[in-house]
């Protein structure tokens, strides 16, 4: 990239990013006209995201994976737009625009090459995540959005400071290869990489930096939580893989430790939960642990992580699509707390069961294959002890994933408010993706490579 870029030579990634920005601008420019229509904001968004997927199919490797998975996450958020629990139901165009910008953030994190791009992508997802959560109805989302934002602001400042340290040490904004950094300043660069990773780890939601995400996923509007979650995990995992491949063991070892601690912590802490939403949030933390473990497992871990994101993303999108439209309050489980009343209806309950089983890693659902891939990579890098811990934590998680099962199975045949057509489409599409990936996991593996 010397001098002014030639517009015709724009890469497909950049075309997709521009497309997403244009979509967001169109939505915002016509927001006063669009906010009375249920379909228009969604359709504009869908066309844009579809274009981004098409751009992604023109590329290969990580770019393809990032564009496709990121845009699909945006598509699910858009499909659930009309059942979203917004404070002001007229703000759907704004929400759609924010989703598209969040999509840019995810894509930038996957495809970005310089630290500055990664920082921008992180910040974009943070802003969008906090905004979409805070726009939910009631006080809970506002509180969650505020906490998420304060915590993300601090970790983002940490990330920037890490970038500064790296720049002082290497004089370049490229992802540093620590092995090639001069010995005298290498500790500086190492700490810089670690601090940069903390900012990304917040998006991943691993243990010491999971608090914001935990609250946001608990109290945010379910329609958007799935998208935000998948976008941030996708982006953060891809960025961390880039960072770790340059940093080597200096970053891989802490990430492995953090991953294991996160898995154990999330599994244990989730046993005390009796709220379905909170359970899902803890599940997001546990899976972040697996992602961190994969990132900490070297080159083989990189592919495994991408694979994990695809499998996890499908199940998470399905789970939150099933929960869309259930408000933003707690969803206590009657089997655990008297007085709980989960009203989902049999179809969405069935979808949620499939999602939960996949998240729990029950074969042959995709969650199982992805977990195996990460464990395999972890074993190759760190040996038996780490693998056994992760495997034990992973399978014990099945206990809390099956906790909502009695309630879900008890969903009465007839419930009103089965969700809008778009929500049904979203659930159906997610179920289809999960089922296809169950029996043909190699499709996801090919996308991940």
């Amino acid at each position: 990239m010397n001098g002014m870029p030639d517009l015709s030579a724009l890469s497909w990634v950049h075309r997709a990013e521009i497309l997403l920005v244009v979509g967001a601008l169109v939505l915002l420019a016509f927001a006063p006209r669009l906010d009375r229509s249920r379909l228009a904001p969604m359709l504009i968004g869908l066309v844009t995201a579809g274009g981004a997927i098409a751009c992604g199919l023109q590329t290969t490797g990580a770019e393809r994976m990032g564009l496709v998975v990121g845009s699909v996450a945006v598509v699910f958020g858009l499909l659930l737009l009309s059942s979203a629990e917004l404070f002001d139901r007229h703000q759907t165009p704004e929400a759609a625009a924010l989703l598209l910008i969040g999509g840019i953030g995810g894509v930038v994190l996957v495809t970005g090459q310089s630290l500055l791009e990664l920082a921008l992508g992180t910040e974009m997802i943070s802003l969008v995540g906090a905004a979409l959560v805070a726009l939910g109805q009631g006080q809970r989302p506002l509180e969650a959005g505020f906490k998420y934002f304060v915590l993300t602001a601090v970790t983002f400042a940490t990330l920037l400071f890490g970038m500064g340290l790296i720049f002082v040490a290497t004089g370049s904004l490229a992802v540093p290869a620590l092995g090639a950094v001069a010995e005298g300043v290498r500790p500086l660069a190492t700490v810089g990489v670690a601090l940069f990773a903390i900012g990304l780890a917040f998006k991943l939601a691993v243990f010491p930096v999971h608090f914001g995400a935990l609250d946001a996923y608990t109290a945010g509007p379910s329609s958007f939580v799935g998208s935000i979650m998948v976008l941030s995990k996708l982006g953060a995992a891809a960025a961390l893989v880039k960072l770790a491949s340059g940093a080597g063991e200096a970053l891989q070892f802490p990430l492995m430790i953090v991953g294991l601690v996160t898995i154990v912590f999330a599994v244990l802490a989730s046993f005390a939960q009796d709220d379905l939403r909170r359970l899902m949030a803890y599940s997001a933390v546990a899976h972040a642990g697996f992602l961190a473990l994969g990132v900490g497992s070297g080159v083989a871990g990189g592919t495994a992580v991408a694979f994990y994101v695809v499998g996890y993303g499908a199940a998470a999108l399905l789970a939150f699509a099933c929960l869309a439209g259930t408000g933003t309050g707690p969803l206590p489980l009657s089997s655990l707390r008297p007085g709980g009343s989960l009203q989902l209806g049999p179809a969405r309950a069935a979808g949620l069961i499939v999602a939960l089983l996949s998240l729990a890693g029950v074969p042959p659902l995709p969650g199982f294959w992805t977990k195996l891939a990460v464990l395999k990579a972890c074993f190759g890098a760190w040996g038996t002890l780490a693998t056994t811990t992760a495997a034990l934590g992973g399978v014990l998680g099945i206990i809390y994933y099956l906790r909502p099962l009695p309630d879900l199975l008890a969903q009465a045949k007839e419930t009103k408010g089965q969700g809008t057509v778009d929500a049904v489409v979203a659930v159906g599409a997610a179920v289809a993706v999960v089922v296809v990936l169950s029996f043909l996991p190699n499709l996801a593996w090919d996308l991940a490579r």
Binding site: L25, R36, D88, V128, G184, V185, L188, T190
Partner: protein
């Protein structure tokens, strides 16, 4: 570059005003501390021959952001007077000590006797304002352009959140 008085003075000012931001009690004083910090940073940038950044820091930070903070301080009930607890201060000291310890560990190489580690030093002046403009339109053009959607998101969020405080508009969706 050997230690020079302007740099040392600016560093000391920046550090002191940062302490002020942390230690002062009244929010207005804190904001003034941040203003002082921002200005001393700008001076420090000048000593590091980063003139453009010094100007930007003064204009954007001191001129816009700190003023924004001051306005919000006045908007909050009670002027945002806070009740600090000893537990919180203890935790803060621990966190600060942990951060300093790690950063000290990274910097230890520079101070260890007999260590050859040092930051590389470039003779002469730093990049000129003209040179600073170049990467913005070449190597850093993508991040530069990406700030546009970022700011867009920030604006949309701020406006949408402001609307939260009004009464929800009447009329449902079809």
């Amino acid at each position: 570059m050997e230690l020079s008085a302007p740099v040392a003075v600016c560093c000391a000012l920046a550090a002191l005003s940062a302490l002020g931001v942390v230690l002062l009690r009244r929010p207005v004083h804190v904001a003034l501390g941040l203003l002082g910090h921002s200005l001393s940073m700008a001076a420090l940038y000048l000593t590091l021959s980063a003139q453009l950044m010094a100007v930007a820091q003064t204009l954007i930070y001191s001129g816009a952001i700190v003023v924004l903070f001051l306005i919000v301080v006045t908007l909050l009930p009670e002027g945002g007077q806070e009740k600090l607890s000893f537990g919180g201060i203890f935790l803060a000291v621990m966190a600060g000590a942990a951060v300093l310890a790690v950063l000290g560990g990274a910097l230890a190489g520079f101070f260890a006797p007999g260590s050859t580690a040092a930051l590389p030093v470039l003779a002469g002046e730093g990049p000129s304002v003209k040179e600073v403009g170049k990467p913005l339109f070449s190597t850093l053009v993508v991040p530069f352009e990406l700030t546009a959607p970022l700011l867009l998101a920030a604006i949309v969020t701020a406006i949408a959140l402001w609307r939260r405080q009004e009464k929800p508009r009447a009329g449902g969706l079809d």
